[in-house]
């Protein structure tokens, strides 16, 4: 069970050029809205046609521009969960779930799914009478009844509030586990992606940049867009001085690193919660094994439910500010401080191409 995709398509604002392979797993495509991720799914489902390339699912060629193969969506056996679920408004829950079945089908197939998705009692209701969560369950049940070889999830949680989102995530994870074939999950939300899958491809401007295991991607993003999409709040342009030294111009500091710095590094990043606030009595501006220590003025403090975010003035223009996130518990003494002394550790510094 595997999916191979290598497609090119000219779009209005960018050129879609995506190449990846996914096995019997949940593969996430992480990208900003409008970067081409939904288009990729639509090409796989046959709703849109790429200009050139190949799409192969479990050895079946769905699309091949050279061999002039372009299966119609009906023949692809691709389950597509749309953002708005796309239930048929004129059909009841039961009829929606049974939509893909032939006349005279075994009623038990539908009954089983209604049970499995906790839809008992709703069989005769119409989609507009259901809550968002129930609609999603009907859509998933409808897809599973059609017995697809792959499931594509297109931003399935973006329309849900955070409580419902958590619940639906759990249900989707359950569905995916019992499905046991390739699942492609498209999202712009790093938390969703991290919860649901193991392998992540980052897509930016129509290009698949970085395909990796989620742990390695989050701990060591290689590109600017990967760093931003995985939630890195602090980014600085860098000048590479030599193979161990870079100057982070937006933060007004130089770093001497023990690791070698590749030639193509253009940005450095550090996560807001990786920056450590240290007591005032430690020495200033000292670079040692434990990283660089520097004092910044506090511009403002933003309170989150469980942490405080300090916006620090780096002294360079007003474009790039440094953000430091500190857990509220145990850091009450930091509130109302005019300046903060922070430590940035070498191992937390992300070098980005």
């Amino acid at each position: 069970m595997s999916l191979y995709v290598d497609i090119k398509k000219k779009m209005k604002n960018f050129f879609l050029d995506v190449k990846f392979e996914a096995g019997n797993e949940v593969f996430a495509v992480l990208g900003r809205s409008g970067c081409g991720k939904s288009m990729t799914l639509k090409c796989i489902a046959g709703i849109e046609t790429p200009d050139s390339g190949k799409i192969i699912l479990d050895g079946r060629t769905l699309f091949d521009s050279e061999k002039k193969i372009n299966l119609i969506p009906q023949k692809r056996k691709v389950g597509f969960l749309f953002q708005n679920y796309a239930l048929f408004p004129n059909m009841t829950v039961e009829e929606n779930i049974a939509a893909s079945l032939k006349k005279g089908h075994d009623k038990r197939i539908v009954m089983d799914k209604i049970k499995a998705f906790y839809l008992e009692g709703l069989e005769k209701k119409y989609p507009c009478q259901l809550s968002g969560g129930q609609q999603q369950r009907v859509a998933l049940a409808r897809i599973l009844v059609s017995n697809p070889d792959i499931i594509l999830l297109d931003e399935p949680f973006s329309a849900l509030d955070s409580f419902l989102k958590w619940q639906m995530e759990q249900e989707i994870i359950e569905t995916i586990e019992s499905f046991g074939k390739t699942v492609l999950f498209v999202s712009h939300d790093r938390d969703e992606v991290y919860h649901i899958c193991n392998k992540i491809g980052v897509i930016e401007n129509g290009r698949m940049e970085d395909i990796r295991d989620k742990k390695s991607l989050f701990s060591d993003p290689k590109t600017l867009s990967a760093a931003l999409l995985t939630g890195c709040k602090n980014i600085s342009k860098v000048k590479r001085i030599n193979e161990n030294t870079i100057e982070a111009s937006d933060w007004n500091i130089s770093f001497h690193l023990s690791r070698k710095i590749p030639d193509n590094i253009q940005y450095a990043g550090i996560r807001a919660n990786d920056i450590e606030v240290i007591p005032d009595d430690e020495a200033d501006l000292k670079s040692n094994d434990s990283g660089i220590i520097i004092k910044y003025n506090v511009i403002r403090m933003i309170e989150s439910p469980f942490s405080n975010i300090f916006v620090l003035d780096t002294g360079i223009g007003d474009s790039e500010k440094l953000r430091v996130e500190v857990k509220k518990k145990g850091s009450e003494n930091l509130v109302n401080k005019r300046f903060l002394k922070v430590r940035m550790k070498e191992e937390d510094l992300l070098l980005l191409a």
Binding site: A45, N84, L87, F88, P89, N90
Partner: protein
């Protein structure tokens, strides 16, 4: 009062609404799925709505007249359209067609494309998608189009008089009867026919509004709150 014009009008309107219903829906389906030439075809299909009815009638005379290929063929099988009851049907159908076509097309255009895509990925055949999903979700628009077409067909005058003429008991519809009565100075008769046509038109439009309110309730919230 001779009831012939009423019977002729109703018969004509019903038959031409029936024809327009199918022609309009299939024309709309065809144009919506078209990749090229959409604008041109749309303009041609809408033309009878904006042309003066007499001009439409003139074109119909060209197509169905004794000198045309179709006219000769119709004469051969002894079913001429010109100056016959069939002529009133042809005129009403052509003039009412754009109303049906445009409302159906508007309804098709408004349908959520994801619903159609979802149906395709679920393996449903295209004709199944059209009859079981697209059409049922477009009923309000299609019914509205049908009633508008009926009202238009019922009141048709210009194209009818051009192609079917004014033959009492054969092609004289209510609107033509009104014209004839006024020409003859028989205002009393004219008033009566005017009253009849106002009542029928009013009832059709009221029926359409009632149906529309009911249908939009059904689609947006089946069974009420």
């Amino acid at each position: 009062m001779d009831t012939a014009p009423l019977i002729i009008s109703l018969k004509t309107a019903i038959v031409s609404t029936f024809l327009t219903f199918f022609l309009g829906i299939y024309a709309a389906k065809f144009v919506v799925n078209l990749r090229r030439g959409k604008g041109l075809l749309d303009a041609i299909f809408t033309l009878p709505m904006v042309l003066p009815p007499t001009v439409t009638g003139f074109f119909l005379l060209l197509v169905f007249g004794n000198n045309s290929f179709i006219g000769k063929f119709l004469n051969l099988i002894d079913r001429p359209v010109v100056f016959s009851w069939e002529g009133t049907v042809v005129a009403s159908t052509v003039v009412a067609f754009p109303l049906m076509y445009r409302t159906a097309r508007g309804a098709f255009d408004q349908i959520d494309h994801n619903i159609i895509y979802a149906a395709r990925t679920l393996g449903l055949k295209e004709h199944h998608i059209f009859y079981k999903i697209i059409l049922p979700n477009c009923w309000p628009g299609i019914i509205a189009g049908t009633i508008l077409s009926f009202a238009r067909a019922l009141g048709e005058f210009g194209a009818t008089i051009m192609i079917a003429g004014n033959i009492p008991n054969k092609t004289q519809t209510i609107s033509i009867a009104v014209y004839t009565a006024v020409q003859a100075g028989d205002y009393e008769l004219a008033y009566r026919w005017v009253l009849v046509i106002v009542i029928i038109s009013f009832v059709s439009i009221a029926a359409m509004n009632m149906w529309n309110t009911k249908q939009s309730n059904v689609i947006s919230n089946k069974g009420g709150i």
